[in-house]
């Protein structure tokens, strides 16, 4: 008996393989990405992880300073926009080389632009430049000057170049030859990417030291946010970008200095009703969803402050419209969040002929007001928001059913079958310029979620938005554009095709070893100034 037990103990102890210790190189920055990048080709980037790699390795002509929101020269020492807004002329920095030693010149810019605009590649970055029919023309003027001409004026053209990492025309290493501060050293699919300092990177600090200061970056693929947090608390990774509110509180409890809130972000959470005329819904529901009073009533019945306070632990603000106040220039400051006002909501419903029986709401034809909201499963915050909204709406007699779906099923419902009633999703805003949202606001657009791909605007206000959006896209005067887009924001606020709920705060966790960090609300929040970051201590980690 005794021997059996000791055998068992031996078995178990031999099986529990001990953790191995490994020392991390002194000057290596570590953080997690949530999936392995789909591509290293900067032109084809459309997922977060690829975007991270592009930001860290790609050299661009113009960079948007994430803190000041201003443009800064990078590979181009200067640029000039023609009066008609169609042509931009760059003057390139001399004597630069790609990471593999290949020289950088006007031919590379020409090659990158032509590659980017190749219609068969369907580059998301390229799509931002696509206006009107026709091809772009790239003209080499001198040894360091190149002019790019677009078929029509592109508003906010310079800002778009922030996303264009220049590729080498002649390097045999193709997209792996880069001009940014880092280059890919090692990539183990699904597991890890190690970047090392680009020896040919051009930037130096005022003392003449070559940038970046940190010699290597290790990006571990870690899809699980909990494990990411544990690793952060253990000191195995140096920071966490876009942290969830709950985890932020946890970090704050352990180490208040490590929890950094950069303020309200650009991202919004929103809900909308299905207004597609051909949707497989009962006619009376289409009437509700098409009614402005109904939408406004639902909106006023939702307690946005509670959403921010309970679901996001106070690290969110009630949302107002398509742009959050963080977008200093474009946000319409005349607008305020919709108030929580169940009394007004009831009044609006009563005016539309809705009535109550035993606390339940009925429409004028006697149909019980009940609808479902779909959201993507696995997102705890959205599920919790939906549950709070469920309670809020039941206070005005509306029965809301919460349905969580896996993403492909959800997308099929909101883009193809239109077999849904309301949807709760978030929108990630990557660009500050309203022009980047043409595909949302034009009634003919694919991402005009509540009623996409209309042949002609279904309502007058959608026609107005179409007109205003087109007008702002054809003007090169930012103040004029701002006036036009303010009107769009006002219409959207009034009609509420999207019920904007909250804007989350940009939260981050940063270890004290990492210096010079100035987290901002724009991607990539923590490491936007990567070449200036420094690390001061050797951190021993357990693997």
């Amino acid at each position: 008996m005794k021997t059996t037990a000791s055998f068992l103990l031996l078995w178990i102890s031999t099986l529990l393989t001990g953790a191995s210790l490994s020392a991390q190189s002194a000057n290596e920055l570590r953080f997690s990405i949530h999936s392995f990048p789909k591509t290293f080709d900067p032109v084809l980037v459309d997922d977060d992880a690829s975007e991270t790699i592009r930001y860290l390795t790609g050299g661009v002509l113009i960079r948007i300073n994430r803190e000041s929101q201003r443009l800064e020269p990078e590979l181009a020492t200067g640029w000039k926009l023609s009066r008609d807004g169609r042509t931009i002329t760059f003057t390139l920095r001399d004597g630069l080389r790609f990471s593999d030693g290949t020289g950088f010149g006007v031919a590379d810019v020409a090659y990158t632009m032509n590659h980017l605009m190749d219609a068969d590649l369907h580059s998301p970055t390229g799509d931002a430049f696509r206006v009107g029919e026709g091809k772009i023309a790239v003209k080499v003027l001198t040894a360091n000057q190149v002019a790019i001409t677009f078929p029509a004026a592109v508003v906010g053209l310079e800002r778009l170049f922030d996303q264009v990492a220049i590729m080498s025309q002649s390097s045999p290493r193709k997209e792996m030859a880069v001009l940014g501060p880092y280059m890919v050293d090692e990539a183990k699919p699904g597991a890890v990417i190690v970047l090392k300092r680009n020896p040919n990177y051009w930037k130096v600090d005022s003392a003449g030291h070559h940038l970046p200061y940190i010699s290597a970056i290790r990006l571990d693929v870690q899809p699980n946010r909990d494990l990411e947090l544990i690793r952060f608390l253990r000191g195995e990774i140096h920071f966490i970008n876009s942290l969830d509110a709950e985890y932020f509180e946890k970090v704050k409890a352990e180490n208040p200095a490590a929890a950094r809130n950069a303020g309200t972000s650009l991202d919004s959470e929103q809900m909308w009703f299905n207004q597609v005329p051909t949707a497989p819904l009962p006619a009376y529901k289409k009437i509700w969803f098409g009614s402005k009073s109904f939408r406004r009533a639902v909106s006023e019945a939702i307690n946005r402050n509670d959403l921010a306070r309970v679901v996001f632990r106070g690290h969110a603000q009630p949302a107002i419209g398509p742009f959050s106040p963080a977008n200093q220039f474009w946000f319409n400051t005349a607008l305020r969040p919709h108030p929580y006002d169940p009394t007004s909501a009831r009044a609006r419903l009563a005016a539309e002929g809705f009535y109550w029986r035993d606390g339940a709401l009925y429409d004028s034809s006697g149909n019980r007001v009940e609808f479902s909201v779909v959201t993507n499963a696995g997102n705890r915050y959205r599920e919790q928001m939906a549950t709070l909204i469920q309670q809020d709406l039941s206070d005005v007699g509306i029965k809301l059913n919460v349905v969580t779906l896996d993403f492909p099923s959800l997308i099929e419902r909101i883009t193809r079958s239109f077999n849904y009633e309301a949807c709760l999703l978030g929108l990630v805003n990557v660009d500050l310029d309203p022009n980047s949202e043409m595909n949302v606001w034009l009634s003919s657009a694919e991402n005009h979620q509540w009623n996409p791909r209309q042949t002609s605007p279904a309502t007058d206000w959608e026609a107005d938005i179409d007109r205003l959006m087109r007008a702002q896209a054809s003007s090169l005067d930012d103040r004029r554009r701002k006036q036009l887009f303010d009107q769009v924001q006002a219409i959207v606020w009034d009609q509420e095709p999207f019920l904007y709920l909250v804007n989350k705060d940009a939260l981050a966790a940063i270890r004290p070893e990492l210096h010079n960090v100035q987290p901002v609300v724009f991607r990539p929040q923590v490491y936007w100034n990567i070449e200036w970051l420094t690390l001061n201590a050797v951190v021993a980690t357990r693997q």
């Binding site: 709950e246 309970v310 479902s372 696995g378 549950t387 059913n401 779906l405 896996d406 099923s409 009633e421």
Partner: protein, 268 residues
């Protein structure tokens, strides 16, 4: 052992009674949100504290118990009966039917049933009541969970078939379902009990994971699965130990079930 069984029976009946009289035990309903006290610690008002949305945890645990304690054993029963029927039929028929069944089980164990579940969700209307959705989910789980057990039952049956007493029974003209019922089934029972017992927590946990596909029990109705899902997050550790109550309860109930059915199993 007998003493332990009495305790188990008492515990289960207490739980059933608590579920029946849950309205008397808790001050508020399971879906009432007191938004001023989310994640509250235990108090006289809320014996187990409140969840992230300020709902009384005790009320939710009791309601969840009601849902899961009925549905999970039912699903376990469905899958166990299916396993017996399929393995039994194959063993009785023998020959190519048995071989075909074996291949069928292999297939069944390997296919991505996830997509069937997604399809089931798509066939359901969106405005389905949380309870209906729960019943359908557990039924589907019951219908999908038989294959592994059927494989083991087949192995047991083919071993039994070569035993003397079965040969004797066959020689004396006993065959078909009579053989299964009178001679084979009693000797299968230990395995059947084991399978039934294993299935209960497996299905409860599976239901929690199906939330990802929009199946399972939807808000605001709680189930043990959805209560356990709250524990998935690291951040809950250190917040409120009372959150572990559903897990403790699940373990207690599964142990009670084990004690009660282990009577049918062979004793050590």
């Amino acid at each position: 052992m007998k003493y332990a069984r009495t305790v188990a029976a008492l515990l289960l009946s207490t739980l059933v009674l608590a579920c029946v009289f849950r309205d008397q035990l808790t001050p508020v309903g399971y879906d009432h949100q007191d938004r001023n006290i989310p994640n509250a610690f235990r108090s006289r008002q809320h014996l187990l504290g409140t969840d992230a949305l300020g709902r009384d945890r005790l009320a939710r645990v009791l309601e969840g118990t009601r849902v899961s304690l009925v549905l999970a054993p039912s699903a376990a029963a469905i899958s166990t009966v299916l396993a017996i029927l399929i393995a039994g039929t194959a063993a009785l028929a023998g020959g190519w039917v048995e071989r075909l069944t074996a291949s069928g089980i292999d297939l069944f164990l390997s296919l991505p049933w996830l997509f069937l579940l997604v399809t089931v969700r798509a066939l359901l209307p969106l405005n389905v009541s949380p309870m209906t959705s729960a019943v359908i989910t557990f039924s589907v789980l019951g219908c999908l969970g038989w294959a592994g057990a059927a494989r083991l039952l087949s192995a047991q049956l083919s071993w039994l078939r070569s035993r003397d007493f079965i040969l004797l029974a066959r020689a004396s003209g006993c065959g078909g379902f009579r053989l299964l019922r009178r001679h084979l089934l009693p000797n299968l029972m230990p395995l059947v009990y084991a399978q039934f017992w294993i299935s209960i927590p497996t299905f409860i946990l599976a239901e929690a994971n199906l939330g990802i596909l929009g199946l399972g029990v939807s808000e605001p109705l709680p189930s043990w699965g959805s209560l356990l899902r709250e524990l998935d997050s690291f951040s809950v550790f250190g917040w409120n130990l009372w959150q572990l109550v559903p897990l403790a309860l699940l373990i207690a109930v599964v142990s009670c079930f084990h004690l009660l059915i282990s009577k049918g199993e062979i004793a050590a």
